[in-house]
């Protein structure tokens, strides 16, 4: 059987993912699509290996504003064999807008009318056959969640080729149709043939001012003719032409629905369970309380339950490490296996419980419909960061661990928001930094422990706010799309979907970020071990030499010593390593280390160092995750550079300012 490709498309919350999961089973693999941060997933149709199914991002229109829309549109221009448009039948009007755009692109559409059960509560009847006749496409009613209508859909996919495909033409009225006809004729004369576009499509897109089509038309020297037409039509309608097209499409949908739907039922009380829940959940006061309760639960489960599981994993790793020490004869090999490989693998593995739990909880919140409500509730607040409401979740997760926080930024649709959030979450103090704070606060601020600890957390938040503003202003300016957010009806998600979703993401983390983490941990091991024969991480090792080399650069910050510099370098593996490195170097731990530090450093030096270690390079795992999520080493290097520069600056101000004031 020949190869075929099916693209799934639809509005967010139309049940597209559910349909995808059913159609492909769990064969889906997250595709590696370079250059874009938006996912499209690919899998095979169950029992039909020659048919691949591509899940495009959920979008409302094809106007190429957001990354999602661009990805979807570009994929559609490659002309998939069939496009299955998943439509929420209980919200037909808005969902059909995208359908019309697909039909106008001349795609081979199958319309899947999902959520028919809810639609039937709203309307007396939906004339499916009539809709199919009017749009000239197969229409399959279904309830994906209950597995209803899947077989007819698969049938329709398999038999589609046999049906005749007729071009859909939405009538735009005399004035516009005249110009469309004129342009079509003009394009034909000029022999313009662009793969993926029909002539009518080109004419409509030209009049709508589609940017891609405009650049094409520019090459043919047709822009001035087109602009002339646009201006003359604009003067007839007294509005921007793009808006007229939108109104005409909605006008068409209105007419369509009048014939297809028979009267709205008046019994509204049952439908509006969702609204009733929202009365409480979105109440300005209660809503906030509930939101923080939910966030608290997510945080607790992710980190406390996660850390509990992590304890077992660490125990297991320790056993293996002991075993290696006993079996392997060569001391250097033992060190390589234990400190290098196992250290690296251990770092990755110990993140897993946190990650899995967080992904599970977040995808559950997303699927149930709470995520957009959280965005709505927190939007005003998050504007201090120049971000929108959803960015709250990555930031609060950042207090636990930066790795899941960076990954949680995925729930942000706009690239500018996502990038800004990814870059600022490392500034939020994660739990791995706590041991450093505890050590230095015990050594230098024994009387103000709570206050100093609080202030250092606040410092992180403030810096995040400031940097977010700066990044938004200079790096990602003007890229924010307007805040138009749908609050979808609550739906009970299938557990299976949440698990599939979670597994996809964990798999991705393991396959992409983990190799980088492992490589970096081994690199640090090599630097700490060589040249052969020196004590691990001592002043004579390469890392110690590097430490001594950069120490003078840290003198203006008050801690220009080999000890401090080496601790900072090794802390890039994981922040808590700063403490153990200091312990190794000073030959003390616990209370002993506190005493050594208190005696050999001044309070100001200690404060300056603590601030630096709070801000500078997050950790290998975070760096690897940033690389994975931004799909570029450039942003990873940028994160390294800017956090070091920022840490240096803040420490400099603290140390020099403090010295001037005589502390």
């Amino acid at each position: 059987m020949e190869k075929k490709e099916i693209a799934l498309i639809g509005n967010p919350n139309s049940g597209k993912t559910t349909v995808f999961n059913i159609l492909t089973g769990s064969t889906a693999k997250v595709g590696n699509w370079p250059g874009v941060t938006v996912e499209k997933k690919e899998g095979q149709l169950l029992n039909h290996n020659s048919i691949s199914v591509v899940d495009l991002p959920g979008i409302y229109s094809l106007s190429t504003y957001s990354d999602d829309e661009k990805v979807a549109k570009n994929h559609l221009l490659t002309r998939p064999d069939i496009v299955v448009d998943i439509v929420d039948a209980s919200n037909l009007k808005r969902n059909l807008y995208l359908t019309l755009q697909l039909l106008e692109m001349n795609q081979k559409v199958i319309l899947a009318l999902n959520v028919m059960d809810e639609a039937k509560k709203k309307y007396e009847s939906i004339k499916v056959d009539l809709l199919s006749d009017l749009l000239k496409v197969p229409v399959i009613p279904m309830v994906a969640q209950k597995n209803e209508g899947i077989d007819p859909l698969i049938n329709s996919i398999l038999t589609y080729e046999q049906q005749e495909h007729s071009e859909f033409k939405l009538p735009y009225g005399k004035e516009i149709e005249m110009e469309i006809a004129f342009l079509e004729k003009l394009f034909q004369e000029k022999e313009i043939n662009i793969p993926g576009y029909s002539l009518r499509m080109l004419a409509i897109y030209s009049l709508e001012g589609d940017l891609l089509v405009r650049t094409i038309m520019d090459k043919y020297g047709l822009l001035s003719v087109i602009d002339e037409k646009i201006i003359s039509l604009k003067s007839i309608f007294k509005d921007d032409l793009e808006m007229i097209f939108i109104e005409k499409r909605y006008g068409y949908i209105e007419g369509l629905l009048k014939t297809v739907l028979t009267k709205r039922k008046t019994v509204e009380n049952k439908i509006n369970l969702s609204d009733k829940v929202d009365k409480v959940v979105l109440n300005p006061f209660l809503g906030i309380v509930i939101f923080f309760a939910v966030m608290f639960l997510v945080f607790q489960i992710t980190f406390f339950v996660g850390d509990y599981l992590k304890g077992y994993l660490e125990l297991l790793l320790e056993q293996i490490s002991n075993l290696i020490a006993n079996i392997v004869p060569n001391e250097l090999l033992v060190s390589f296996l234990n400190d290098g490989v196992l250290g690296g693998v251990g770092t990755i593995i110990t993140f897993l419980p946190n990650l899995i739990l967080m992904f599970l909880l977040l995808s559950f919140l997303e699927d149930i419909g709470y995520m957009s409500r959280a965005a709505y509730l927190m939007d005003r607040f998050m504007r201090f960061f120049g971000l929108q409401g959803k960015a709250f979740i990555p930031i609060i997760t950042g207090f636990g661990c930066t790795v899941p926080a960076v990954l949680a930024a995925r729930t942000l649709e706009k690239k500018a928001d996502r990038m800004t959030t990814i870059l600022i979450t490392p500034l939020i103090s994660c739990s791995a930094r706590l041991p450093i704070y505890v050590l230095f606060i015990s050594a230098f601020f024994p009387r103000n422990r709570g206050l100093i600890l609080f202030l250092i957390y606040i410092m992180g938040i403030l810096l995040a706010v400031i940097m977010a503003k700066i990044f938004k202003k200079f790096l990602f300016k003007g890229k924010s799309a307007p805040f138009v957010l749908e609050l979808p009806p609550y739906r009970i998600p299938t557990l299976k979907a949440s698990f599939i979703h979670t597994w996809d993401r964990v798999k991705e983390f393991l396959s992409r970020a983990s190799t980088l983490i492992l490589a970096m941990v081994i690199l640090i091991w090599v630097l700490s071990t060589l040249p052969l024969g020196v004590e691990y991480g001592s002043q004579e090792s390469i890392i110690g030499i590097i430490g001594s080399f950069i120490a003078p650069a840290l003198t203006p910050l008050g801690f220009g010593t080999y000890e401090a510099a080496t601790a900072l370098i090794s802390g890039i593996v994981a922040k808590e390593v700063v403490v153990s490195t200091l312990g190794t170097i000073y030959g003390a731990d616990g209370g002993g280390l506190v005493e050594v530090l208190a005696n050999s450093w001044t309070t100001l030096q200690g404060l300056s160092f603590m601030v630096m270690s709070a801000i500078y390079i997050p950790c290998f795992a975070t760096l690897a995750t940033i690389k994975q999520e931004t799909k570029s080493y450039k942003w990873m290097l940028f994160a390294i550079f800017y956090t070091v520069a920022l840490g240096y600056l803040v420490s400099l101000i603290i140390y020099q300012g403090g010295s001037l004031l005589g502390f």
Partner: protein, 217 residues
Amino acid sequence: MEKLNVKNQDILETIYQLEKENGKARLTDIAASLGFSKSRTNQEIRKLVDLGLVREDKYGPIVLTKMGLFEAERVVFTHLLIMTFLQRHLGLDNETAEKDACSIEHVISEETIKAIVRHLEESHDNIGDFNLKEAEEYLVKKKRLSELKVGQKAQILKIDGPKGIKKRLMEFGVIKGEIIELVGTAPFGDPLNFSLNDFHLSLRVKDADNIIVELQE
């Protein structure tokens, strides 16, 4: 959006009058009719441009945007309404009525406007060239979407604002003629939660400012 101050409203009103009388409003004319210097007038107009109420084409006249026209008409109608009331019902002379209307128009509440309309209606009166129905529509029923109270329903009349946002909104189904209801507001009164057709839509106040609606009973 923030409430327009007296100066904002006066300038809008002036541009409106000039557009009506001369077909266009030039900076010089606006300055002359308000008795301001040109540079000060220019400064004030910048503010209106920032609020999206006025458009200034290079070296061209100053033009009201849809929102600007809406705000100007509100002031003009209020002015006419108060004038009529002061002249015909309190018997004040033209000059005093004009002067007082100029001040009152900026501070009068919706309740008082409604009361005056009702009072004039009872005595079968009209305001100037406009009839009362029209006045009521302008002053009581026509609102910015952001001015709806929770539970109020309204029909969408016009959408203005930056092209990108306008297009986004329209593709979501926020188009002329649709009925939209304010369901609730987030903490601090922003963003707003609307119900439209078969779904719920959240918009920031800033974006809802750009939509003019007519209240439904």
